[in-house]
């Protein structure tokens, strides 16, 4: 089959990046968190809830609700609706769908929102019931959860490419430095490489500071056409390019690359930029080793050179490669599906110049990626988006 040329995202923008500050545990429901995010979107954009005519939702903890239940719950009357259960790839997937919806004028303003609560036992319950393959063929094997599954991937990757814990640790340490500038980050204490290395093992080679902390929170943004944003006087970032891929490289016996590697050429070609042009990069950091994989698969270096890349660059806000500037999930917390949105929402703030204490100076061009759904032995879903601020 001939591969056809994709329609560019001409005139599609993203506005009103919203974060509802996270808490470690919440007695509220996921719907409560999503409701706060919708409220913040409306307030920040200066619109009425009735102006929202498209809704895209992601959450692990909504119980039996899906997007349709939320329309009635929040009094929204929409003509376009989607529920995206893609875990860490939900934000990119949601953005892609919303962008096409407003481009085709099936909707004018789509609210993309992700939120999860974290009750004392919710994480374990999510783990236990994650997927059918996971229930059958992963959970009964030590119940180590994602930590054990990613430990296998990390161990194989580190051995194959000669990566040390120090190399991986640089990513976590830099993100903690960034997080100290983000008042909403749950991690407030500085982290040195020595502390990272001395942390207790969780599932070798995964140690404590390789793991995200499950928490409650919500993130959201609006997708619309440029003229809609202009008429509302809303500052907005232009969507330049996206990619999405599922179950890539199924024949690799173990995951050493994500789906990005299949589509990375198209990602930059569609945007008309090179990796070097990016001012700020937000990867999906469920584990720092997965971030290192993304540096390779997203074209910042070749496969196997991730460790060298990390050693050669300063990943902090003021560094030469500002990365996960909010602190990322590793230091802000992982609020379920909102973890997928965290990087994209922070990236939008960066190119809009509204990131406050974590602002990278002159950030105009950003990239955010997503990764999700370790259904069995590997993460299945991946995606990325490139977007530009109004000054570019």
């Amino acid at each position: 089959m001939m591969k056809s040329q994709r329609t560019p995202y001409e005139g599609i923008v993203i506005a009103a990046p919203v974060t509802i500050p996270y808490v470690r545990y919440s007695i509220e429901s996921a719907q409560w968190w999503i409701g706060r995010a919708l409220g913040a979107l409306v307030a920040q954009a200066g619109i009425k809830a009735s102006d929202i005519d498209g809704l895209c939702v992601s959450s692990f903890t909504m119980g039996t609700d899906s997007g349709i239940g939320l329309t009635q719950h929040f009094g929204l009357c929409v003509r376009w609706l989607d529920t995206i259960p893609l875990g860490g790839a939900s934000a990119i997937a949601g953005l892609r769908k919303a962008a096409r919806a407003v481009q085709a004028r099936d909707a004018d303003i789509v609210a993309c929102v992700a939120g999860d609560t974290n009750h004392v036992d919710s994480f374990r319950l999510t783990l236990e019931n994650f997927s059918r393959f996971n229930q059958d063929a992963v959970y009964p094997y030590g119940a180590g959860g994602a930590n054990a599954s990613f430990a296998l991937i990390a161990r194989n990757y580190m051995r194959t490419f000669g990566v040390t814990r120090e190399d991986v640790g640089r990513i976590a340490v830099a993100q903690r430095a960034n997080a100290l500038r983000n008042p909403h980050a749950l991690m407030k204490a500085p982290l040195t490489l020595e502390q990272y290395l001395a942390a207790r093992p969780i599932s070798d080679p995964i140690h404590l500071f390789d793991c995200v902390m499950p928490c409650a929170g919500a993130e959201a943004f609006l997708v619309m056409r440029e003229e809609t944003a202009a008429s509302l006087g809303l500052p907005a970032a232009r969507l330049l390019s996206t990619i999405e891929r599922h179950n890539a490289f199924a024949d690799d016996p173990m995951q050493v690359r994500g789906g990005w590697a299949m589509d990375v050429g198209e990602l930059y070609a569609m945007a008309g930029v090179k990796p070097d042009d990016l001012d700020v990069v937000q990867t999906y950091d469920d584990y720092p080793v997965i971030t290192m994989m993304q540096f390779e698969d997203l074209g910042f270096c070749k496969k196997g050179e991730g460790a060298e890349f990390v050693r050669a660059h300063d990943l902090t806000i003021d560094g030469d490669f500002p990365h996960n500037t909010s602190g990322g999930q590793l230091s802000v917390g992982q609020a379920g599906a909102a973890g997928a949105y965290l990087g994209l929402v922070e990236g939008l703030r960066q190119v809009l110049g509204t990131a406050g204490p974590t602002q990278v100076s002159n950030a105009r061009l950003g990239l955010a990626s997503g990764f999700g759904m370790i259904n069995y032995d590997r993460g299945l879903a991946s995606g990325a988006a490139i977007f530009a601020g109004p000054s570019r």
């Binding site: 992963v138 070798d204 173990m254």
Partner: protein, 370 residues
């Protein structure tokens, strides 16, 4: 045992509804080549599940099977990354079949591995109660269990002042304690349990009561009553006396309580009119064993049923061969425990009945009427 596509021959794992190579729905479970390579391992130190939390650190790995799929597996301590492993499916404490990777070849004291022992009911180092020491099967079981490294075998004997064949040899063995037990007597079972109930890691129910005849050639119910008293009610007495403590001791140290073994006639599955009433009493015991299995499962105790055809003992004197040697039953008890199995068929008759029952139950019923 993995799913194999009948259309394209590809193996698939985890179990699914259509072939990932050709989308054919014809996926049947088939014996798969057992060799693979350990790609990567990890040690889970803070599992989220209470069972594994108690047993952490727990080592698992990802195995690339020579026949295709990759399988997350429990690891034997002697498995090394990059090295070949031999896979098997084992029943874990919850009764679920799980993949277990062992080194390709034998290694020293291989069966003593901590994680392997968690999946099996290896009698080595454990204490076992054999309920009937008067029977040849019971005596052979004692010998086989001692040879398998059992620490202490308690052997139940009813009315021990009455001498019996093989008694001297039984009493002479090191680590064998003859205890008073008449399983058909509720008080006898309870008294013994009060004495040693907390020390029984494996119970081997060798209760035996074989009489010929079905319905019309017998008069009255007295023999049937005896069959029920000995086999069925005896089973209930033993279960009520020893089951609760065994269930509580499923995680009691490294040589915890692990298994209950029943020796049942294969005619529990299909009535053999020549021994028709006996068959019925065995069927009752089989049904009860499923109940016991369910009730012991919360404690992680396995129930193994060992099905046998006519045994080479006096009550089957008139039955022509092939017959099962008591020693073969004793060895099957040990190997079944070592494998952590729930069911075993010992001897050619038992195996034949199993296959014929699966193939055509009505034909089997008709053919047993000879």
């Amino acid at each position: 045992m993995l799913q194999r596509c009948e259309a394209c021959g590809a193996f698939a794992y985890p179990a699914r509804e259509a072939c990932p190579s050709c989308l054919s729905p014809a996926l049947a479970f088939a014996d798969a080549p057992r060799l693979g390579t350990l790609l990567a391992e990890t040690t889970a130190r803070v599992p989220s599940d209470v069972y594994f939390r108690e047993r952490a650190p727990w080592r698992i790995g990802l195995v690339k099977m020579d026949c295709g799929p990759t399988i997350v597996a429990h690891l034997h301590a002697d498995c090394a990354e990059g090295a070949p492993v031999r896979m098997s499916l084992q029943l874990d404490k919850s009764g679920q079949a799980v993949a277990f990777a062992r080194p390709e070849g034998e290694t020293p004291n291989m069966a003593d591995d901590r994680q392997w022992r968690e999946m099996t009911a290896d009698p080595k180092f454990r204490r076992v109660l054999v309920t009937n020491g008067r029977s040849v099967i019971g005596q052979e079981a004692v010998v086989a269990l001692k040879a398998a490294g059992v620490k202490t075998v308690f052997v139940g004997v009813a009315e021990p002042w009455r001498p019996f064949a093989g008694e001297d040899q039984l009493r002479r063995q090191e680590g064998v304690e003859v205890v008073t037990l008449d399983a058909a007597d509720e008080k006898s079972a309870a008294d013994l349990a009060a004495d040693i109930g907390g020390k029984v890691d494996i119970l081997v129910n060798t209760t035996e009561y074989v009489r010929t005849g079905g319905l019309l050639d017998r008069k009255g119910t007295s023999i049937a009553r005896d069959e029920i008293d000995q086999a069925y009610l005896g089973f209930i007495n033993l279960a009520q006396a020893f089951g609760p403590a065994m269930r509580m001791r499923g995680a009691d140290g490294i040589n915890n309580s692990v298994a209950w073994v029943n020796i049942l006639s294969v005619y529990a599955l299909a009535n053999w009119p020549a021994f028709g009433a006996y068959s019925a009493s065995q069927a009752a015991c089989l049904s009860l064993s499923h109940c016991l299995r369910a009730e012991l499962r919360p404690g992680g105790i396995k129930v193994m049923n060992l099905f046998t055809g006519p045994v080479d003992t006096e009550w089957f004197q008139t039955v022509p061969p092939p017959k099962v040697a008591p020693r073969a039953i004793a060895q099957a008890i040990v190997s079944g425990l070592r494998g952590g199995l729930e069911e075993m068929y010992v001897g050619d008759v038992a195996e034949e009945i199993r296959q014929r029952l699966a193939a055509n139950p009505k034909a089997l019923e008709r053919e047993l009427d000879k």
